[in-house]
Symmetry: C2
C-alpha cells in the first residue's frame, strides 16, 4: 500500500487549473484563464535567437548551467532592476522556474510547521499552494483599495506571536494583484516596510504584472524603498516575454539567495540553459521597452472594454475593481451569492469565470469572482459580460426572493 | 534576523558542484565533471526544430502547458518505454525538470522525518541531496559488482522496522550507475522485486545512462520485470539529447503520479513548453536510435582509452570498475588514502577527479574516487591518467612509510 508523507494530507490541486478543463468547451466565452495573450509573444525574434543560440552557442544553450542561473542573465537583471531603483548584485539573484519555484523555495527555506505567513484576502492562489506544502499558519489580512489593512496586519502579527506562531514573512503582490488588480499606494508600501522593520520580518514582493501599467503613474517597488535588506523580489518573464519559457528570478539579501541556491540544487539542480539564453537575448538584443509599450496598448483596450461592459451589464448590486494594469478585474456580488455554485449556470449560458473563494486563505469570498480580459477579443468581452450580467441578475433575483 | 526552517540545518551544497570551480583552472585535465560531451548534442536538428516550433507552433511552444507535461511527449514516451518492455499509460507519466525534480517530488510525496530509504553505498549524490531535504533515515547498502548486497538489504529493512523507521522505498541506478558504472544482473533485479513485494516497498529505478551501453547485452529494466506496480522509473533526456534542456520524466503507478502532479503544481506550476516540444520532435522526427548508436560509439572509445590507461598507469594497490557503458569509472585505493586530501596534490599535478566520499550515505568511502571520461580527449585521458597514477603512487608510498 502507498504510504504518502503527512505533509501531503492537505495537498490539493489548484481549483482553477482543474476548472479550466470545463471552461474550454466550444462557444464558451472564458474569462477564467490567467494566461497572457500569445498574440503578444515576440515569436519572430525568439525563433531567430533560438536558432542562433543552439547553432552557434551550444555550449551555453544546451549544456547544464549553474544552479544560480546564467551570469549574463543575472547581469542583465541587475541593469533592468536598476531602472526600477532596485540596487542588487550578482550574488543576490537566483534564476527560478517562473516565480512559482521562488515561492516554493522560500517556503522550503523559511517555513516550519505552524510558522505565520501574512497574506492578503484574497491573494495569489499559487502562493497559497506553494506555502501550504510546508504547513504554515496562513494569516489572512483584508485587502483595501490601496493595499492591505495595515492596522489589521499589526494586530495579526501580535496575535500570531502570542499564539506561538513565529511570524516569518508578509507576502504581497503590490502591482495589479492577481486576482483583484489592486495596486498598493506608496504610503502603504512605506508603512509596510516600517512594520517589517519594527517586527523584524521579511517582505516577499511578487511583481509579475508590474510592467503591465496602462494608465496612471508608476509607484516605486517596495524593494526600491527598502533600506534594511528585508525585501525579497520575485519576478518572471511569463507576462512580458512568453509564459511557456518558465524563466523567473528571486532577488534578495545574499544570505537568503545563498540558502535558496542550496535548496534549488536538491530540487532540480539547475534550470534549462536554452530558455535562460532566450531571456538574456530579450533583455540585451531586443527593444524591450518598445515591446512592453506594445503589450500595454494591446491589453489597455481590452481592460477598458471590460470595464465599460461591466458598467453596462452588471446589476447595481455588483461591485468591481478598476485596475490601471495587469490582467484581471475582480467582481464582488451581494452576500449570499455563491459564485462556485453559480458557475454551473454560467456555463449553461456559455460564459466562464473563476470563483473567488480559492484565493482566500480563510475560505471566505464565496461571493467574489476573477475575470481575465487577456485572451478574449473585444467582441467576446462585450458579449461575455452581457451573458454574465444576465446570469448574475437572475442569481440576485433568486436571492431576494429567498 | 533570518530564521530559516529547521529542515535547512543539514542542507549543504553538492561538494562536487562546489569543487568543479577549482578543477576548471587552465591546463588541468579534469575527470571531475559529470557532464555529457556537448559534441554529442544534435545542434543542427535542434536549431531547426526550435525555430519551427516557435514560429509556427507558438501556442504549443511558448504558452503555459499542463503540470503533467505535454500530451505528445507523454505519448512518445509510452512508445519508447514500450520498446523497453515497460507498459505505461498517459496517466502514469509526469514530465519533470530533469530526473532531479522527480527525486525531489518523490521525497516530498513519501518521506516523513525518520522514514527509511535504502540506497547503495555509493549512490548518486543528487538523490542523497534531494531526499535529505525531507529528513529521512538513509540506509546504505553495500554495492557489489552485480548490484546491491541483497542479504544485507533484507536485514537492513528488518532492522529499520524494528527501530521505528518506516521503510518507504529502495533507490537504485541499475544501469552504469553514477558514480561506479556498475550494472545490476538480471537475477538481482528479480530478487529486488521479490523483496519489494514481500516487504511492501516501492522501488525507484533511475535510468539516466540506460541507453549508453557500449558492449554486452541489454538487461531488462526492473520496471519491465515488475508485475505488482511497485516500480517508479525516472528518466531524462540529459545524456541522450542535451543536458541543458532539463527534460525528464517520472513514470509509475497512477496514484503516485497523481500525487506527484499535485505537488509539482505548488513547486513550479509546469515545465517549459519549448524544451518539451524539442523532446517531442527528437522522439518523433529524428532517428533517435541512430543518434544513440553514434553516442555510444563516441563514448565507447573514450571508456576503452581510460580503462587501458588505468591498466598502464595505476599502481597495483588500486582497483577500478570495468563498466560496459555510462560515463564513469570508479577507482578504489588502499584503506588510509584520503582522496579528498589528495585532490589538492592532484591539482598541483594538473589533474582532477571527484572524491568518492560524498556519494556514501554513511560518510565512508574516503579511499575512492569517480572518474568521468566524457569530456576529455583521448590524449587527455592518457596524459591525465598518467599524472593521476603518479600522484597515487606517491600517496601510497607515503602511506606505506607511515
Amino acid at each position: 500500500m502507498l504510504k504518502f508523507a503527512e505533509r501531503t494530507k492537505g495537498a490539493k490541486r489548484s481549483a482553477i487549473r482543474e476548472l479550466l478543463k470545463y471552461t474550454e468547451q466550444p462557444e464558451v466565452i472564458s474569462f477564467a484563464g490567467g494566461l497572457p495573450d500569445p498574440a503578444t509573444f515576440p515569436t519572430e525574434f525568439l525563433a531567430k535567437v533560438a536558432q542562433e543560440e543552439i547553432l552557434h552557442n551550444a555550449l551555453k544553450s544546451l549544456q547544464y548551467t549553474t544552479t544560480e542561473g546564467k551570469r549574463p542573465l543575472r547581469e542583465a537583471l541587475i541593469r533592468w532592476l536598476g531602472e526600477e531603483g532596485i540596487k542588487t548584485t550578482m550574488d543576490q539573484i537566483v534564476i527560478t522556474n517562473g516565480s512559482q519555484q521562488g515561492l516554493d523555495l522560500l517556503g522550503r527555506a523559511f517555513l516550519d510547521e505552524g510558522d505565520a505567513v501574512f497574506v492578503s484576502l484574497p491573494t495569489y492562489l499559487g502562493a497559497l499552494q506553494a506555502f501550504r506544502a510546508y504547513q504554515p499558519t496562513l494569516v489572512g489580512i483584508p485587502l483595501e483599495e490601496d493595499g492591505m489593512d495595515l492596522s489589521f496586519l499589526r494586530r495579526a502579527i501580535r496575535e500570531a506571536k502570542r499564539a506561538g506562531h513565529e511570524p516569518k514573512f508578509i507576502y504581497v503582490v503590490p502591482d495589479f494583484q492577481n486576482p483583484t488588480g489592486i495596486t498598493w499606494s506608496e504610503e502603504k508600501r512605506k508603512e509596510l516596510l516600517e512594520i517589517a522593520e519594527k517586527e523584524d520580518l521579511l517582505i516577499v514582493e511578487d511583481i509579475p504584472y508590474r510592467w503591465l501599467r496602462y494608465k496612471g503613474e508608476h509607484i516605486p517597488t517596495i524593494a526600491s524603498l527598502d533600506e534594511g535588506g528585508r525585501v525579497i523580489v520575485l519576478l518572471t518573464f511569463s507576462k512580458i516575454l512568453a509564459a511557456g519559457l518558465r524563466v523567473g528570478a528571486l532577488v534578495g539579501p545574499q544570505e537568503v539567495v545563498n540558502m535558496v541556491v542550496t535548496l534549488k540544487q536538491g530540487a532540480d539542480l539547475c534550470g534549462p540553459s536554452l530558455t535562460q539564453r532566450l531571456a538574456v537575448r530579450f533583455l540585451t538584443d531586443y527593444d524591450m521597452h518598445a515591446h512592453i509599450a506594445r503589450l500595454c496598448q494591446h491589453y489597455k483596450v481590452k481592460l477598458e472594454a471590460m470595464l465599460e461592459a461591466l458598467a453596462r451589464h452588471m446589476p447595481e448590486e455588483a461591485g468591481w475593481t478598476k485596475p490601471e494594469g495587469g490582467l484581471f478585474v475582480w467582481v464582488k456580488l451581494p452576500e449570499g451569492v455563491d459564485t462556485t455554485k453559480m458557475l454551473e449556470r454560467a456555463l449553461v449560458h456559455k460564459v466562464a469565470y473563476v470563483p473567488g473563494q480559492p484565493f482566500f486563505a480563510d475560505g471566505s469570498g464565496q461571493n467574489t469572482m476573477r475575470l481575465s480580459f487577456a485572451l478574449a477579443t473585444l467582441e467576446q468581452i462585450e458579449e461575455g459580460i452581457r451573458r454574465l450580467g444576465a446570469v448574475i441578475k437572475e442569481e440576485v433575483a433568486t436571492l431576494t426572493l429567498a
